[in-house]
Amino acid sequence: MKIHEFQAKELFRKAGVPVPRGGAAVSVEEAERVAAELGTFPVVVKAQIHAGGRGKGGGVKLAANAGEVKQLASSILGMTLVTHQTGPEGRLVKKLLVEEGLPIEKELYLSVLPDRGAAKIVFMASQAGGMDIEEVAAKTPEKLIKVFIDPLIGMKGYHANELAFGLNLEGDQVKRFTAMALKLYRLCVDLDCSLVEINPLILTKDGRVIALDAKINFDDNALYRHKDILEYRDFDEEDPFEVEASKYELNYIRMPGGNIGNMVNGAGLAMATMDVISQAGGAPANFLDVGGGASAEQVENGFRIILSDPSVKGVLINIFGGILRCDRLANGVVEAAKKVGIKVPVVIRMEGTNVEEGRKILDESGLNLITAKDVSDAAQKIAAIVKA
């Protein structure tokens, strides 16, 4: 799960990680009030969307006085912000963060996250703050500092020192940085974060170490033990079809620009089915895994969500019946098709346990379902029908 910068900064504040003074606003008036309360200029007006690259896209601006705050807030609120992470359709800005401007001496990069390969918690740091970390890793890998921490031992002082001295910090900066890094580690572990990123982390001219930006992603599998974090979920930032699918615990992802809906049991097979559709010259409209042990109800809900997408011109159902038998699945599909009503061609490929009985149910359903003999055949059939 992703959250906004202002929410991440709230969590930083609670954890004792220094952030600029500021507050969120959903209207121009609120933005003016936050700026007035700060009692200082310049202030920074920042668009709040779940995507990076906001500055380059024109969503982060500096205001020198109250008039400029009003002007910037009204132009940024309601704008469609396009960044390298939003896709060409961009994202509508509905929230702002208004913060004090700070005298920056140096910008650094710092992140902490679980490293899947090493099975450790890793800190990454670089003196090239503000730059994309992938770019740093690719162009100047020697400038990227990595410190791995055994989760059974936890972060120790020497880990923090390695980072601080690696970043060439001096004097009080070292103490302030290491105290902050230890707090950041606790936050990452305690809140089950999949990423905590500060880019840039700044050193101010008066010697402070402050998180100028804040990004936190959470491990969805751990949200059951963080009910308070769930409160931060912003449905405005999610695709409405995906929000609907999440109500039924369906793994559904919408693919903008696609027109062939597909429903598959199992995540790997679902990805592979999208690939086969694409290889047959079609464009998958979604990813949908109804689960290795999908129930008739899951199949029905999945079917309904796929068909509610107006860009879907045809549907491919690919089911490998394992423990869940094909005859039961066929019944589920037929029931769902009757309830939901199908207005686009549907190709079904079914294999595995009780496949003959399953095919018979589909053939005798009286529904216009096209059966396929294997996965390639299914993809070619649906791609050809949709193209025609």
Binding site: Q85, P114, R116, G117, A119, K120, I121, E134, D150, P151, L152, V189, D192, S194, D219, D220, N221, A222, Y224, R225, N251, I253, M255, V264, N265, G266, A267, G268, L269, A270, M271, A272, T273, M274, D275, V276, I277, S278, Q279, P284, F287, D289, G292, G293, F320, G321, G322, I323, E351, G352, T353, D374, V375, S376, D377, A379
Partner: protein
């Protein structure tokens, strides 16, 4: 011979009294797996289809001599259950459960390193040596004994691979689902290394997907240490970056973990790549002709 499980495997099931645990335990038993015990804290003394239930893993091991565990415990308690089996000294632990937090698995993974146990999964279909032993939720009847070893990160995609090679008359030595989570117990390399050493296995199929770099590392291992023919498949060529594709581990981060990167790595290692899923059986037939 076979890999990790055979007729001598004595299985205990953690979470045997739950709906899923009970259902799949019976399926494993019917397949021929020697299921000797179940464990559910507080339900010791009961039985499930004649299988005695114990309160603790240590108690079950002491009474029955179990040497492997299958874990169906729900996500909030699953890491705890795996740690219990590690402490009880079980040689093999197969965790089926999907949805264990990454932070929990990081601890389990690091604890495993100093133990005698091998963990397969979590979030996996299990392991099967056809005709001898099935630990997991796979449909046993689609398999048959033979000489192809299969290792995969996905459940139904593994069944698809088994089904397709069956169509061309090829059976399996051992089929291992290592699971779709970002942090898991057994890697591709562990399985490839075991297949290389196993005389029953003459050829290998490796099924990967987007996310992480396990396939790239495995390809490198194949290049340097595997002499048996290997074919590979990667799911997720059309997956958008930054999205979790069903499996917690199936996510492209920035430019790393892409399907095309993994396919390139496999090609460079001399692995025959299956580009279109529908052709896996036919490609296996051709690539394995000299050894089967």
């Amino acid at each position: 011979m076979s890999v990790w499980v055979d007729r001598n495997t004595k299985l205990l099931v953690q979470g045997i009294t739950g709906r899923e645990g009970r259902f799949h335990t019976v399926n494993c038993k019917n397949y021929g797996t020697n299921v000797v015990a179940g464990v559910t804290p507080g339900k010791g003394g009961q039985d499930v289809e004649g299988i005695p239930v114990f309160n603790t893993v240590a108690g079950a091991v002491k009474e029955t001599g179990a040497n492997a565990a299958m874990v169906f415990v729900p996500p909030p308690f699953c890491a705890d259950a795996i740690l219990e089996s590690i402490d009880a000294g079980l040689a093999l632990i197969v965790a089926i459960t999907e949805g264990i937090p990454v932070m929990d698995m990081l601890k389990v993974k690091n604890y495993l390193k100093n133990s005698q146990s091998r963990l397969i999964g979590p979030n996996c279909p299990g392991i099967i040596t056809p005709g001898q032993c099935k630990i997991g939720i796979q449909p046993g009847h689609i398999h048959s004994p033979g000489h192809v070893g299969i290792v995969s990160r996905s459940g139904t995609l593994t069944y698809e691979a088994v089904h397709q090679i069956q169509q061309f008359g090829m059976g399996q030595s051992t089929v291992i689902g290592i699971g779709g989570d970002p942090v898991n117990g057994t890697s591709f390399i562990d399985c490839l290394s075991a297949f290389q050493a196993d005389p029953e296995t003459r050829a290998i199929i490796m099924v990967g997907e987007i996310g992480g770099s396990a396939e790239e590392e495995a390809a490198d291992f194949v290049k340097n240490h595997v002499t048996k023919p290997v074919i590979g498949f990667i799911a997720g060529l059309t997956a958008p970056p930054g999205r979790r594709m069903g499996h917690a581990g199936a996510i492209i981060s920035g430019s790393s973990g892409t399907a095309s990167g993994k396919i390139d790595a496999m090609r460079q290692a001399g692995i025959t790549v299956v580009e279109n899923l529908g052709e896996m059986g036919a490609i296996a037939k051709k690539a394995f002709a000299s050894v089967l």
